[in-house]
Amino acid sequence: MKLDAHIPPGPLAEKWKQYRGTMKLVAPNNKRNLEIIVVGTGLAGAAGAASLAELGYKVKVFTFHDSPRRAHSIAAQGGINAAKNYQNDGDSIYRLFYDTIKGGDYRSREANVYRLAEVSLNIIDQAVAQGVPFAREYGGLLANRSFGGVQVQRTFYAKGQTGQQLLLGAYQALSRQISTGQVELFHRHEMLDLVIVDGKARGIIARNLITGELERHAAHAVVLATGGYGNIYYLSTNAMNSNVTAAWRATRRGALMANPCFVQIHPTCIPVSGDYQSKLTLMSESLRNDGRVWVPKKMEDVMALREERIKPRDIPEEDRDYYLERRYPAFGNLVPRDVASRAAKAVCDEGRGVNASGKAVFLDFASAIVRYGKAEAHVQGIHNPDDATIQKLGKAVIKAKYGNLFEMYEKITGDNPYETPMMIYPAVHYTMGGLWVDYNLQTTIPGLFAAGECNFSDHGANRLGASALMQGLADGYFVLPYTIGQFLSDEIRTPKIDPNLPEFKQVEDEVRARLEKLLNNQGSESVESFHRRLGKIMWDYAGMSRNAEGLDKARKMVRELREEYHREVYVPGSMNEFNPELEKAQRVADFMEMAELLIIDARHRNESCGGHFREEYQTADGEALRDDEHYAYVAAWNWNDGEPELTKEPLTFENIEVKTRSYK
């Protein structure tokens, strides 16, 4: 198979503009007759469904949640990037494009990323018009802050709840379309398979989670906006129900899955505290604007901390190793996530981790509190402020910036981060890999589109902070509504798709058989216990650092686990009722297969780049060693249960010089 990304001609900065000007259109009278299914109501799904409905298409939107507002985009904390250059600090569309390509370690497509940087401007305008209450300065204009891997301030934010506010904006736009009848909402409905008719995606089989019934839904095109697969690792910052089923079922129906080994491990999460743990909690990257990351220099201090004989504040400044500032002076604590995570792992592997398990480093706000305290005292006209005043004023500034994050930390750990440094450790957070899509966001199945985290398109091997919200909304508001017309303009003569076609019945029967098999299994182990075991294999062998031997072993282990799962799992309850265990059981079955593909991809990519770190390929000082000669391509996989077949989409860089990625 040869992959054509359908990149439009013209110079980079003109491609999208020219393409939009020459695209095929669908007239309003025809849009009325065209139906689109959108699966997922996160940023990409809600924004896409609302925008498509505004254009006049008939949209059916599906969420497994009780309300579209609960999609996991809601949990994004820190912010959203846009090249507005409101701070006059030298930002531009080109610079956002450059930072994103470099941040992704030169494994993403130039044309897609440039378009993303371009439409980032419109996203902020759109969100403000919807009433998204971004942080503002006293003059009434929008405030910005910095995120990792960049040297400008281009991140817009609403305290530590930016995802919530942006999702509510999209949810409200979607609600407006539901109220007009232009969108039909199916809540507590989970897509369990894709239906293809004559080679085109024409519908889905969804399970009504309340009644348990399987339903057939037909449309002229299907959009998946179903998020990432981070929960393959069991413990991640993803919500409990986030899963890969929709994307995986599309893969099993012939869509290619691209770069599945590119998984982002976020450096600042609350460390694991016990075996019962169900998920990990992120502490926003924005905290690294002001928090300094360190571990003790001396082992005796490390031991004393672990035995709680001393407190972190007892360790004098000269005995602390601010290792990010030491290793990466140009970016300091704001190096990109992959770099920060590996550096944390390195100091913990040396034995300098600061909690009982040895898997934690400090994120310390003491110096920021003093710095802000002094500045605020000056603003308030207090000369020669005493320490108590400085502390009080400084803590108030920190509270205004990060209040909800500090509260969240304290609720979970019982420690007060205003008084003692936070303890953090890397955790699985985001997946850059996903369904292969062309420039139109169309997968290899005609009529099947993928938007947001569930596609692979823009982040290469590592995503920069505050770029997930940007990409989800770019796809949903500003890309898909245009590009889907390229497909639908050829469908205006296609009558309403009939869900009674034999193709629908066939897929529905297959789904029913799959669920019944899980329910009728005579096993005795819970779904959860298998999911935990899968997660452990993946974290140990396909997590922050990987090697060929470990990956080979992991593949075998995952295979065996999958066989054991289908033999030994016990799923209580029945099909025709509200049955969360059954939902989980089929999701974990799909995780098991996707996990194997992730391992195969990691094993084949004999280089280190971005979030994919292969121990065999590193520089003398432990940095990732990329191999552009052999691996400057997108790896797109066609799944089969034996040896999945690899198709390569070569990446060419015409507008950016490919360099060793350095933040030193």
């Binding site: 924004a47 609302a50 925008s51 949640h65 009780d66 309300s67 507002r69 609960r70 996991h72 809601i74 949990a75 305008d125 759109q126 969100a127 403000v128 018009a129 919807q130 009433g131 209450p133 942080a135 503002r136 300065e137 006293y138 009434g140 204009l141 929008l142 709840q161 919530q164 506010q165 509510l168 409200q172 736009a173 609600s175 407006r176 539901i178 109220s179 909402l185 809540h187 919500a239 409990m240 016990g274 019962y276 743990q277 169900s278 909690t281 509260e407 969240m408 609720k411 979970i412 019982g414 508001y477 500003f478 819970s526 959860e528 216990s529 016990y570 209580p572 309850g573 009722e577 509200f578």
Partner: protein, 251 residues
Amino acid sequence: MKLTLKIWRQKNANSKGQFETYQVEANSHMSFLEMLDVLNENLISQKKEPVAFDHDCREGICGACSMVINGHPHGPMKGTTTCQLHMRHFKDGDTIVIEPFRAKAFPVVKDLVVDRSAFDRVIQAGGFISVNTGGPQDANNIPVPKEDAEEAFNAATCIGCGACVAACPNASAMLFTSAKVAHLAKLPQGRVEASRRVLRMVHQMDEEGFGRCSNITACEAECPKEISITNIALMNREFFRAAFKSEESPM
């Protein structure tokens, strides 16, 4: 710690429910939902049906988790969702009573899971600003006073969990509805259709069968996001102003 749990079990919306008693062993580092996970694992290992409850992000932002714990929606801790409640706030030997949110407008789906789609319909009635994708001017063209933006934000942090309804003896949804009305009314972008919005949302709230507000303020006390009842006062002002001047009937 050893705990006794009295949990509401109800097969579906049409069947009658009752309390069942369970024993569970937990530790103080667990979250409340992780303690329920342990219970469910135990039940599954005995081939019994696990307790159904809504949950997703487990970090206090999605609004999926609900349940009334010892008489309090989201449990005894102020400003805390059930998923952020940790077992260190309970003692060895405690008995904990766990029920679903109870309100006419929130029918039980199963056990502790309720249907809160009435909230979505209240938002659909007018909880938005009517702008289409692609039209807006530059984001900095309309300055918004920092204080107004912050007040709008504070109202907009509502997670739509429904604790306010569960806390209210009248099962009123005034706090939820007013938070959205206030969020949008505080911003210049939202003023344009403020009258129409408040009339429609209040009407829908009544249609859904939520009760009246009698200023008990339990909603504010139990709200995990500490949404202020000043939003209710603001909504009342907005409503009366709109009702007097509007040609749309105040319903």
